[in-house]
C-alpha cells in the first residue's frame, strides 16, 4: 500500500513518479497547474463538498433503515470530481460504483439519484437495481452494474466505435485497484492498446478491495506500470490533489481525442470509510492507518488553497452546507412519497417487445394474491 509519505509533495517528477500540483501550503506548482479560474475552483470545491455531504446523509439513511445500501466516496472526492471535470461534453464516462459525485456534476439530477437510492417508481432504472446502480445516459454516463470490471471492456468498445465512426471523443472508465486483477482489465487494456482506442483508464487506487490490501492484489510495484504489458502509456498522480488529477486527465483526454490512443492513470488515494454500509473496516485495518490520510484530505486541501486566495469564507461554507442539506432533504422527501414501481414494470424491458411468456407471467402476478385490488 502506498502511504501518504511516499505520496509526498515533490512537484517535479520523472516518469513513473507521482504527479503533484499542490504544495503543502495550498499554492500550485507551475508544471502541473491546470490553469483554472478561481470561480472554477470554487465550483469544483462545491461539488466535492456536496458529494461528501450526500455521502454522509446516505449512510445515515441506511443506518435508519430507510435505504438498503450505500457505497460512498469518502476521501476520493478529488480523484472523482477532478477527473470527471476534465471530460468535455462530447466525452463519455463509464463509471464503477463510487462516482455519483461526478455524475451529479455532469447533470445527473439529485432527485433522480435519490429516486434510485430508494428504488421507487421514478427511478430511471425502475427500481430494478440496488442503490447506487443508477443510469443516466443523458449525462453521457454509463449504466452501473456490480460485477467488477465489466465496464472497462465496454468502455473500450465504446471508444473504439467512436473511432470507427470517426467521431472525436474520449471515453473514460473508472475502476479500483482490486479491479486490475479482473480479466476485464486485461481484455480492456489489451484491446485498447492494439486498436489505439481513445480511452482513459482511471484507476482509483484507494488501497483496498474490501478487506484485501493492494499488496495482495499484485506483485507489481505500481498499478501504473501495468500499462507496459499493453503498450499503453501511464501516469501516477496524487489522487488527493484536485489540480494534479485534472492536469493528468486533461492530457490523457487530449491524447485520446488526437488519435494518440489510450492512457492509464493511477490515482493514489485512500478509501477513508468502509467498503460500503455493509462493511466494518475495523475488522481488518488498524485505525491509525487512516490518520495520515486525514491530514491529506482532498477537500481540506482545496479549501486551504481557496482560503489562502481569500476566495472561500466560513459563511460560504455554512451556506453551502445548508443548501445541500435542503436539496437533499427535499429529494428524500419526494423519493419517500413516491410509490414503488408497478408490478407490471417488472416484466418490461427484458426485450424491446414483450414476448408471450412474459405477458403470461405478468398476468399471473397481476392476478395473484399480492396484486393490488384494482390494476
Amino acid at each position: 500500500m502506498v502511504s501518504p509519505a511516499e505520496n509526498s509533495s515533490a512537484t517535479q517528477s520523472p516518469p513513473g513518479d507521482i504527479v503533484h500540483a499542490m504544495r503543502d501550503d495550498g499554492s500550485l506548482s507551475a508544471e502541473h497547474d491546470p490553469g483554472l479560474s478561481t470561480q472554477q475552483v470554487v465550483d469544483l470545491y462545491r461539488h466535492m463538498v456536496r458529494t461528501r455531504i450526500i455521502d454522509e446523509r446516505l449512510v445515515t439513511l441506511q443506518r435508519q433503515g430507510r435505504i438498503g445500501f450505500h457505497i460512498g466516496s469518502l476521501g476520493e472526492e478529488a480523484a472523482i470530481i477532478g477527473s470527471s471535470f476534465a471530460m468535455g461534453e462530447q466525452d463519455w464516462i463509464f463509471p464503477c460504483y463510487r462516482e455519483f459525485g461526478g455524475a451529479l456534476m455532469r447533470g445527473f439530477k439529485l432527485q433522480s439519484f435519490i429516486d434510485n437510492m430508494f428504488g421507487n417508481a421514478n427511478d430511471a432504472a425502475k427500481g430494478r437495481q440496488m442503490p447506487d446502480h443508477y443510469t443516466c445516459r443523458e449525462a453521457r454516463w454509463g449504466s452501473i452494474s456490480s460485477p467488477i470490471g465489466t465496464q472497462m471492456t465496454q468502455a473500450v468498445g465504446f471508444a473504439w466505435a467512436a473511432k470507427i465512426q470517426k467521431k472525436s471523443l474520449a471515453c473514460l472508465v473508472y475502476f479500483g485497484d482490486g479491479s486490475t486483477s479482473s480479466a476485464e482489465f486485461h481484455n480492456a487494456m489489451n484491446f485498447a492498446g492494439v486498436f489505439k482506442t481513445p480511452s482513459v483508464f482511471f484507476c482509483r487506487n484507494n488501497g483496498w478491495a474490501i478487506s484485501v490490501p493492494v499488496e495482495r492484489q499484485t506483485a507489481s510495484d505500481t498499478f501504473a506500470e501495468k500499462g507496459v504489458a499493453y503498450g499503453v502509456p501511464s501516469v501516477r498522480v496524487d489522487g488527493n490533489d484536485l489540480f494534479a488529477v485534472i492536469a493528468v486527465t486533461r492530457a490523457a483526454v487530449q491524447r485520446a481525442r488526437d488519435g494518440g490512443g489510450p492512457t492509464l492513470i493511477e490515482a493514489l488515494t485512500y478509501r477513508m470509510g468502509g467498503h460500503s454500509t455493509s462493511d466494518d473496516p475495523n475488522r481488518y485495518r488498524a485505525r491509525d492507518e487512516l490518520e495520515p490520510w486525514v491530514e491529506r484530505d482532498p477537500i481540506e486541501r482545496v479549501r486551504r488553497h481557496l482560503q489562502a486566495k481569500g476566495a472561500w469564507s466560513d459563511d460560504q461554507e455554512e451556506a453551502l452546507r445548508t443548501e445541500v442539506d435542503g436539496q437533499f432533504r427535499e429529494a428524500v422527501a419526494n423519493a419517500e412519497k413516491t410509490p414503488p414501481p408497478s408490478l407490471a414494470s417488472m416484466f418490461e424491458d427484458v426485450y424491446a417487445e414483450q414476448p408471450w411468456h412474459l405477458k403470461e407471467q405478468c398476468q399471473q402476478l397481476l392476478s395473484g394474491a399480492r396484486a393490488p385490488k384494482a390494476h
Binding site: D123, A124, A125, K126, R128, Q129, H133, T135, C136, R137, G142, S143, S145, P147, T150, M152, T153, Q154, A155, V156, G157, F158, A159, W160, A161, A162, I164, Q165, A183, E184, H186, N187, A188, N190, F191, V194, F195, E348, D349, V350, Y351, A352, P355, W356, H357
Partner: protein
Amino acid sequence: MTQMNMVQAINDALRLEMARDDRVVVLGEDVGKVGGVFRVTAGLHDEFGDDRVIDTPLSEGGIIGTAVGMALYGLVPVPEIQFSDFIWPAYDQIVSELAKYRYRSGGEYPCNMVIRTPVGGGIRGGHYHSQHPEASFIHHAGLKVVCPSNPYDAKGLLLASIRDPDPVLFFEPKRVYRAAKGDVPEGDYTVDLTKATVSREGSDVTVIAFGAMLYEALDAAVKAEEQGVDVEVIDLRTLWPLDIDTVIESVKKTGRLVVVHEAPKSCGFGGEIVSLVCEKAFYHLEAAPIRVTGWDTPFPYTLEMEYLPLSHRILPAVIEAAKA
C-alpha cells in the same frame, strides 16, 4: 435464386447487411484476412476494410465485452466466436451484461448485436469443438437464441437478427455448414424470428428439432412412415423465445411429443419444451413426452456418432410414443 450452402448464405447475409448499414461491424478471431476458420466471413475484409472486419486478439471476453461497448455506442456488432465451445470466457459479459443492459437501465441502454458461432457435433471435434450450448443462454432472461437448419433460413434469420433490437445468439450448425444446400433468393429478405416452421406434416407424433438434428428427425419420420406412423416434424428455427403456438397446436393434434437436441439431456432445452407442453396441453397428451438428446457426458471423439441423437435413436422414440 441461387443454390447456396449455409456458409455461403450466411456470408451473403453479412455482406448485404454491411453494405446496407454502415453500423454493422464484424469482429473475432481469424474473421478478417483469412475469412474465418469455416470461411463464413470470406471476402468481407477485402470489401469492407480493416475497420469493419476486424481480426481481434485471442480473447472471447475481450471480443464480446468490446462488442457490447460498440452496441452501447450505437453500432451493430456481429462478433464471431470461433467455436461455441469457446464462448465461456465471454459468459459473464453475455449473461451479466449484454442480457441485462436494457432491463437494468430502464431501457436507456439497449444492445443491438448478434453473436454468431458454429455449434454442434459430427465433425470429429471431441469435447471442445462439438457442443451445442443453447440451454445456458435461454435460462438467462434477455437473450434471443436462433439456430437455422438450412441456407434460406440462415440468411433470412441472420438478417432479421441483425435488425432485431435485442441481443441474439446465432448458432450455426456446423455439421451441415456445407451439406445443407438450397435455393436462396438474391438480395434482401427476412425470416420472422417469432415463427417455427412445420417441416413435415403428420398426425401421429410431433417431433421437435432444430439445426443439424432436423435432418435426423426427418429421416426418422420417413422410416416411421414405413411402420405406419405419421410424424409431424417442427423446425424451431428460433429457439427462444419459443414459438409456443406452433408447438402446442401440433401436440394437440398428435397427442405425442418427441424432442430432439444434441446437447446433454439434464437441464437441457428439451426439459423446457416438455414442461411447457405439460403446462399447456397436458390433457391432450396420450403418451409420455420423450427427449432424445446427447448423453449426460462430455462430448466424445471416437464415439461421437453414438453420442448424437441420430435418426436411429429418434425412430424408436417415435414408435414408442406412437404405440403408447
